[in-house]
């Protein structure tokens, strides 16, 4: 209940920008005076994670040197993991090593990074091993996401309750609520839409928020509306893989050709889940035909 009362939070804006996907804004507004040493570390880790989100892995790897604090090291590890998939075994083994180190193993940022990496590896059990204990809003939010990935919206909901008890109005709580709402569908879609709507009124429009709104629209069957939102998102960031992927889906439903978006996505982001889906689908189609013949 620490969140029920407390003094001003100097990192609030920065964190918020990061959560809603305004990464450049987070980086630009990171010069905050009079921070405590802990806050400085958190600030730096947020800034570096923003760079990671923008794809500047190398910058992060270069700038964080070996003497930096544990959270930053963890962030660097994440950058490593994402930048070179070919070396991921090495990254993961050093991650294990760190996690077993009693001195730093419990660091929330390290645990968070572990959760993210193992989620990428689709090893949800391993991810949850480090994240389930929670401790920060981010870890809770990641838990919600992992449970959703596991199609366990019941667990996700429990996790969300925990977040709501801590701080119902926290940006991550609201976001996680929207994710869950989208996953369970039905009347909750409208609630998810309202949450994204609130964000778009309160903060700057990011492609993350616009995509959230568009996804809600698509689930409501309002594909025309969704297309407008996605095009707006594309204006903000022409390379955002989710925007492109959702545009492909939206185009399919509208009966419009979406092959350009698809090839754009294939070029820029060949690991994207949509691209994988497409190629998997082709494979499984051929296999099925083969089996059938």
């Amino acid at each position: 209940m620490a969140a029920l009362a407390g003094g001003p939070d100097p990192l609030f804006g920065l964190r918020n920008s990061f959560y809603i996907g305004a990464y450049q804004a987070a980086i630009n507004n990171s010069e905050i005076p009079n921070l405590s040493p802990d806050d400085v570390v958190e600030r730096d880790s947020l800034v570096y994670r923003s760079y990671i989100a923008l794809g500047s892995y190398q910058l992060v790897i270069n700038e964080i040197d070996s003497s930096a604090a544990t959270p930053l090291q963890a962030v660097k590890l994440l950058a490593w993991y994402l930048s070179s998939p070919e070396n991921k075994e090495m990254t993961i083994s050093s991650l294990h090593e760190w996690l077993e180190d009693p001195a730093i193993g419990n660091n929330p940022v390290l645990r968070l990074v572990a959760g993210i990496i193992f989620t990428h590896e689709q090893d949800y059990n391993e991810a949850l091993k480090y994240t389930n204990a929670g401790g920060t809003m981010e870890l809770h939010a990641l838990n919600v996401q992992i449970f959703l990935k596991m199609h366990r919206s019941d667990y996700a909901e429990k996790q969300l309750r925990v977040m709501q008890q801590i701080d119902e109005d926290h940006t991550l709580t609201q976001l996680a609520n929207a994710w869950l709402n989208l996953a369970v569908g039905g009347s909750k879609i409208q609630e998810a839409f309202l949450i994204f709507q609130d964000f778009s009124e309160k903060y700057q429009m990011t492609s993350l928020i616009l995509n959230g709104k568009a996804v809600c629209c698509m689930h409501k069957g309002e594909f025309d509306e969704a297309e407008l939102l996605l095009l707006e998102a594309l204006n903000k960031d022409a390379k955002d893989p989710e925007t492109l992927a959702n545009l492909v889906v939206c185009g399919l439903h509208l009966g419009k050709s979406s092959s350009r978006y698809l090839s754009q996505l294939k070029l820029s982001n060949q690991d994207h889940i949509l691209v994988k889906r497409a190629s998997n689908a082709e494979e499984s189609f051929d296999k099925a035909v083969h089996a059938f013949a």
Binding site: L4, D9, F12, Y19, R49, A53, S67, T70, L82, P102, A103, G105, I116, L128, K129, Y130, N132, A141, Q145, K149, M150, H151, R152, S153, D167, E168, D169, N181, A183, V184, G185, G186, S187, K188, I189, L194, D198, K202, L208, N211, G212, V215, M218, H219, K220, G221, E242, V249, L252, H253, G255, I273, L274, R277, A281, E282, S284, F285, A288, V289
Partner: protein
């Protein structure tokens, strides 16, 4: 009680409100009558002619008159405009207690200690009736507001009601006015024109006051027995109804409230009491410490009361009259009576939404004070002063507008103020702990947050933000970050009005308005002498506000002015262009149309929107001294120029703005020396020599003119000037001119003529004019002056100026856009200036670059320094790193403990799997990605074996079934399954079927495209479209059985086209087989096609057969073609010609495998007719017929199914399964 105005004075015994103006008369014990403006709080006048206390005073309803009566037995009638007493009515024999004008007749009623009541005619200035009957002092007497009745109260413990109907009858027959006068004397005692109707007995002591109810037959009285009594009367009798007890001393005055069902009384116990007139219970008591109350007065029109006491008087209101309202989009929500209502601006529709709790009637001023509305949740917070500040939360049901009278059970709470801060969150101020509680719609506390300043009210300030008000400042507080976003010192803020875009805010105090931006950065402050009531922002960013008396505007820079005068106070709610919407005090929505020209004009000027300014100047009627002064003051004399008709002002403005042409124009019209002079000065400043010259000429300023010609090198004119000077006998001027011209002879002549012979001689000799010198020397004789030696003299001739003709280069006058737009002249010159300006800019830019380079250098140096610093810091960090490990040690154990307990859940079932389990529709399986089951289903249902044409469709279905949600940054995206047929009421967690990318309407569109291509003869393209339809149909899902039939129908339609088009294309390939060509053309006509296509096919077959001399068959086609009634005349004509030609020669050249008399179907593969009775096999999907040899082959038409295989039939709707 809301005190509006207070005075300090001697004891106030009488009070009277003016019916129209904000004035009140107070008559004092000292003998003075004061006239106050209670709105401005000023003493307007005092009337001091009575000796001793003045107890009664009354304004006339319409005339500028008032009447007063005092202890000097005198009734005085005054004209307040003339500031004097008009006349005095004498007759009473003792103190006069009250005086009152009649509402329509020219009468005054007066009550006196001489036991009588008198009625006077103030026009004839006579007493027209004396009402006797009381046997003690009559303390008050007043006319009934409508009927011919008078009520009086007396110390004889009675209240009397008098019928004066006879008196009225007498006055309406004015013929015998004289007679009536004489009659009056006979009536003097026991007169008959005013008779006692009722005597009301019941008070135990003397009665001080009695008054009528404004509409009902009721009387209320107050007496020295400390009681207030209510009396009722009918035509025949009057009786006591009830007694109100509570006053602790003599009741001095009592009256009914005209608008509310209450009685107000005051007493010598120093209190004013408010009573419920129906329930007859006390509602409220206001006490004063030391002052006994003597008199009460009610305003005849508005909700104001006044009370006089020992040391002055107060003007007050019992209840607030501002309706609580809240604005949301196009709607205004407000409370009227006990209902929440909504007013829609666009339609001007007013709806009653829900009833809300009626404030307990045993208290006053407990009605709703503020409203806050959340549009998404349709919830309303109603705040009131009940229980020292509380709120009620209502949710407006969406459908049952205005129905039902049941008050819904509202969620309640105590708090200073409550406002929505987000869609489903509201903030409640808890004053005791100075914190704000954030609650959700269930009225549960979500968050608590201490406030940064001692707050006594909170207002909305954007989502998640609050504007907190303290006595002397306001701050904006961010509830999430818990930081103060901005603060501002203000006087006590009463209302807060945000602009639509939330960028600007207006803080309304009692007598001032502060405009600030969203961070509370001060923009401007306005002070008003009259109370500020309300305000709203218009679309242009102008703040429009009301005071008690006016609608005014305030521009972003603080300029303000009056738009309109108001009769009654209104509360602005919204502004649409020229229409201001307000709520009045009765809770009615009123649109007020205003003329916005003035402030829009000023705004445009302020924003430098000169194009708008110009169009307004041209199109609208803007003028007036105020506007000119404004423009001058704001530095726009050139604009003001266009409003002014008065030449002097024009001249001044033109000079001020440097518009020399306009100034010249005006100067010509004015034609005064002074103006010419000033014009000359300005022209000289600008270098406009032409005008300078003209101005000098007009002012006859020859010296300046000469000098001017010298400077400009205009020697012709200069010599003319010399001549003028000669004519005018101006020797000095003439000499100057000669000097300027360098004309020595002339100078000598002048000197000679002037008698300065020595000088003339010297001049001549110096310049070597020896003949003249000698002549002069001769005249001078001995007095020839000696010339200095050794100096060589030269002729003084002024150098010729560089520029002789035309104007000098003119001083650049900043010409505004106005001149360019409004004057057509001089535009060429202006362009030059602009070019020059451009050149300057270029240079300026260069300078800027140099600067930036320098800056760059400096910053590089700075960076170097930074690097050093950072290195140093790192050294420090290393030390800290060493300290870290032991700190982090302990939590590790807990984590281990936790993780040992935690068991990760098993993964759940993906939505796609749920889809598959539920469905036997192939499309849904494909969408779920289960292609093998989808194929099996299709094979079972439609016998489909060839799936390769369906590949892209399968993949599209699969891809379209999920959307992608970036959730946690850097974590993998969540893919979310999209479901079909969403509705807002669908329950969550219940999976619907997948959304599919193909739908029936798309196919219908495609069909149309196919038709069009067929019509255009693009057969291969058309075939592609039709085949695409045929391939998509197995993956279509529709909802109803009716639609299933439509789908099946579509298969047949499309199949026919595919078959026909395939045959037609085949025919075109066969160039060298005319028989087969004819056959195929003939078969094509047997496919069921749209009529236009049918016609084309027939025409085609006809042509082919005709050419091949198969006339009989051709005739058959021609006949068929004519049967379709072709609209195309060409077609019909050809058909008729063929028919004619064929009839002459009815036979076929070649034998065709085509017997149109025998019904047949086509084989889809071999394109031969299968006549009725012959064996055939069909495609299980498209039901095309085939010759038996095709059994087991892939259908040639749909390219999907195996001919002749078993299939259960098309399954394309869940309704088929149910």
């Amino acid at each position: 009680m809301l005190t509006k105005f207070e005075t300090k004075s001697n004891r106030v015994k009488g009070l009277s409100f003016h019916s129209k103006r904000p004035w009140i008369l107070a008559s004092l014990h000292s003998g003075v009558v004061q006239l106050w403006d209670y709105r401005m709080g000023t003493l307007i006048d005092r009337f001091d002619e009575h000796d001793g206390p003045v107890r009664g005073v009354h304004f006339h309803k319409s005339q500028p008159l008032f009447v007063s009566g005092g202890d000097d037995y005198k009734i005085k009638v005054w004209n307040y405009k003339l500031h004097r007493c008009l006349f005095t009515l004498l007759g009473h024999l003792d103190y006069i207690r009250t005086v009152q004008f009649h509402h329509e007749n020219p009468w005054i009623v007066s009550a006196s200690d001489d036991h009588t009541i008198r009625i006077w005619n103030w026009q004839s200035r006579t007493c027209i009736s004396v009402l006797t009957g009381h046997n003690h002092y009559v303390m008050c007497a007043s006319f009934h507001p409508k009927e011919d009745l008078v009520v009086s109260a007396s110390l004889d413990q009675t209240v009397r009601v008098w019928d004066i109907g006879a008196l009225r009858k007498k006055t309406v027959s004015p013929a015998d006015d004289i007679m009536r006068l004489s009659q009056m004397n006979t009536d003097f005692f026991g007169g008959v024109d005013a008779v006692v109707k009722y005597v009301l007995e019941g008070h135990d002591r003397g009665v001080n006051w009695a008054s009528f109810h404004p509409t009902l037959p009721l009387i209320v009285s107050g007496a020295d027995d400390r009681q207030v009594k209510i009396w009722r009367m009918n035509d025949t009798k009057a009786w006591e109804v009830d007694t109100l007890r509570g006053h602790m001393n003599n009741v001095s005055c009592v009256l009914f409230h005209s608008r509310q069902d209450i009685i107000v009384s005051n007493s010598e116990d120093k209190s004013i009491r408010v009573w419920d007139a129906t329930k007859r219970t006390g509602l409220q008591t206001f006490r004063r410490e030391h002052d006994r109350f003597w008199i009460l007065a009610a305003h005849p029109e508005i909700n104001l009361l006044a009370a006089g006491h020992d040391t002055g008087m107060i003007v007050f209101k019992l209840e607030r009259e501002r309706p609580a309202f809240s604005l949301s989009g196009d709607s205004l929500f407000y409370v009227k009576d006990r209902f929440l209502r909504a007013f829609e601006y666009s339609t001007q529709k007013d709806t009653q939404l829900i009833p809300i709790r009626r404030p307990g009637s045993n208290t006053l001023n407990q009605g709703p004070r503020t409203l806050s509305y959340s549009p998404t949740e349709n919830a309303v917070l109603v705040c009131s002063d009940i229980d020292g500040g509380s709120y009620e939360l209502y949710v407006v049901p969406k459908d049952s507008y205005g129905r039902g009278d049941m008050v819904q059970e509202a969620k309640r709470g105590v708090g200073g103020s409550a406002v929505f801060v987000a869609r489903n969150r509201f903030a409640v101020l808890e004053k005791s702990s100075n914190q704000v509680l954030v609650k959700n719609l269930k009225n549960e506390i979500v968050k608590k947050s201490p406030l940064p300043i001692a707050t006594d009210a909170v207002f909305y300030a954007g989502t998640g933000n609050l504007l907190c008000r303290a006595e002397d400042k306001v701050v904006i507080f961010d509830l999430q970050q818990r930081i103060v976003l901005g603060d501002l010192q203000t006087s006590f803020v009463r209302y807060v009005v945000w602009s639509q875009d939330m960028e600007s805010v207006a803080l309304l105090s009692k007598h001032s308005i502060i405009i600030a931006d969203k961070k509370l950065v001060h923009r401007c402050t306005l002070h008003e002498t009259i109370r500020v009531k309300s305000g709203a922002w218009d679309d242009h960013g102008v703040f429009i506000y009301t005071t008690l008396t006016h609608i005014k505007y305030c521009l972003p820079n603080g300029d303000n002015g009056i738009i309109k005068t108001l009769d009654v106070p209104v509360y602005i709610t919204k502004i649409y262009g020229n229409t201001i919407f307000c709520l009045d005090r009765d809770g009615k929505n009123r649109p007020i149309i205003i003329d916005s020209t003035e402030y829009i004009f000023k705004l445009s000027l302020l924003r430098k929107r000169y194009d708008q300014v110009m169009s307004m100047i041209k199109n609208s009627e803007l003028c007036g001294q105020a506007m000119i002064a404004y423009l001058q003051q704001k530095g726009f004399p050139q604009v003001a120029l266009y409003f002014v008709k008065d030449e002097r002002t024009r001249f001044n403005l033109a000079l001020e703005s440097g518009n020399i042409e306009k100034a010249l124009e005006s100067a010509k019209k004015i034609d005064e020396k002074d103006h010419w002079y000033r014009l000359g000065v300005e022209a000289l400043r600008q270098g406009n020599t032409g005008i300078v010259e003209y101005a000098y000429q007009r002012t006859k300023n020859f010296e300046r003119l000469s000098f001017h010609y010298l400077i400009t090198g205009n020697l012709d004119k200069l010599s003319k000037m010399m001549k003028i000077a000669e004519v005018k006998n101006d020797v000095m001027g003439q000499f100057h001119d000669a000097l300027y011209l360098g004309d020595v002879r002339e100078r000598i002549k002048i000197l000679e003529n002037a008698g300065h012979l020595p000088l003339a001689y010297i001049t001549a000799s110096v310049h070597g004019l020896h003949d003249i010198a000698e002549r002069l020397a001769g005249e001078l004789g001995d007095n020839v002056p000696s010339l200095p030696e050794g100096r060589k003299a030269s002729l003084l001739i002024p150098p010729s100026p560089a520029l002789c003709a035309g104007d000098w280069p003119l001083l650049m006058v900043s010409k505004g856009i106005f001149e360019g737009g409004l004057d057509d002249t001089g535009s060429g010159a202006q362009e030059d200036y602009e070019e020059a300006a451009d050149a300057d800019w270029g240079e300026a830019l260069d300078i800027g670059e140099v600067d930036s380079i320098q800056n760059g250098d400096i910053s590089m140096v700075l960076e170097d320094e930074h690097v050093h610093e950072e290195n140093e810091e790192e050294g420090g960090w290393d030390l800290e790193d060493l300290d870290l490990p032991p700190d982090a040690d302990t939590p590790k154990n807990t984590q281990n403990a936790r993780s040992s307990v935690f068991v990760a859940p098993t993964p759940g079932m993906p939505v796609s799997q749920i889809w598959v389990q539920r469905s036997s529709l192939a499309a849904e399986h494909a969408a779920a990605g289960n292609f093998d089951t989808a194929m099996r289903l299709l094979s079972r249902q439609l016998g489909i074996k060839n799936f390769s044409p369906l590949k892209s469709l399968f993949i599209d279905l699969h891809m379209g079934s999920q959307t992608y949600l970036r959730a946690f940054t850097s974590a993998p995206v969540i893919s979310v399954a999209v479901e079909r047929g969403w509705s807002e009421s669908a329950s969550p967690n219940v999976r619907g079927p997948p959304a599919l990318v193909f739908n029936f309407s798309q196919l219908e569109e495609k069909l149309k495209v196919g038709y069009k291509a067929t019509t255009a003869g693009k057969f291969s393209e058309a075939l592609k479209h039709f085949l695409a339809i045929l391939h998509t149909i197995p993956l279509i899902v529709v909802e109803t059985r009716g639609e299933v039939n439509e789908v099946k129908e579509l298969i047949t339609i499309v199949k026919e086209y595919v078959l026909g088009l395939q045959m037609e294309l085949k025919r075109r390939e066969l160039k060298d087989n005319p028989v087969r060509q004819q056959e195929l053309a003939a078969y094509f006509t047997h496919c069921s096609l749209q009529i236009p296509h049918k016609r084309l096919a027939l025409q085609n077959a006809m042509t082919v057969c005709f050419k091949a001399q198969n006339l009989s068959t051709a005739a058959h086609f021609a006949r068929q073609l004519l049967e379709t009634n072709p609209s195309n005349e060409n077609q019909a004509r050809t058909a008729r010609q063929v028919l004619q030609a064929a009839e002459r020669n009815m036979r076929d050249a070649t034998q065709l495998n085509y017997d149109f008399r025998n019904p047949f179907v086509m084989c889809g593969a071999t394109y031969v007719p299968i006549y009725r009775g012959q064996k055939d096999v069909t495609c299980p999907y498209c039901s095309t017929h085939f010759v038996p040899a095709q059994q087991g082959q892939i259908c040639n038409v749909c390219d999907l199914a195996v001919v002749g295989s078993d299939a259960s039939g098309l399954l394309c709707s869940p309704s088929q399964i149910r």
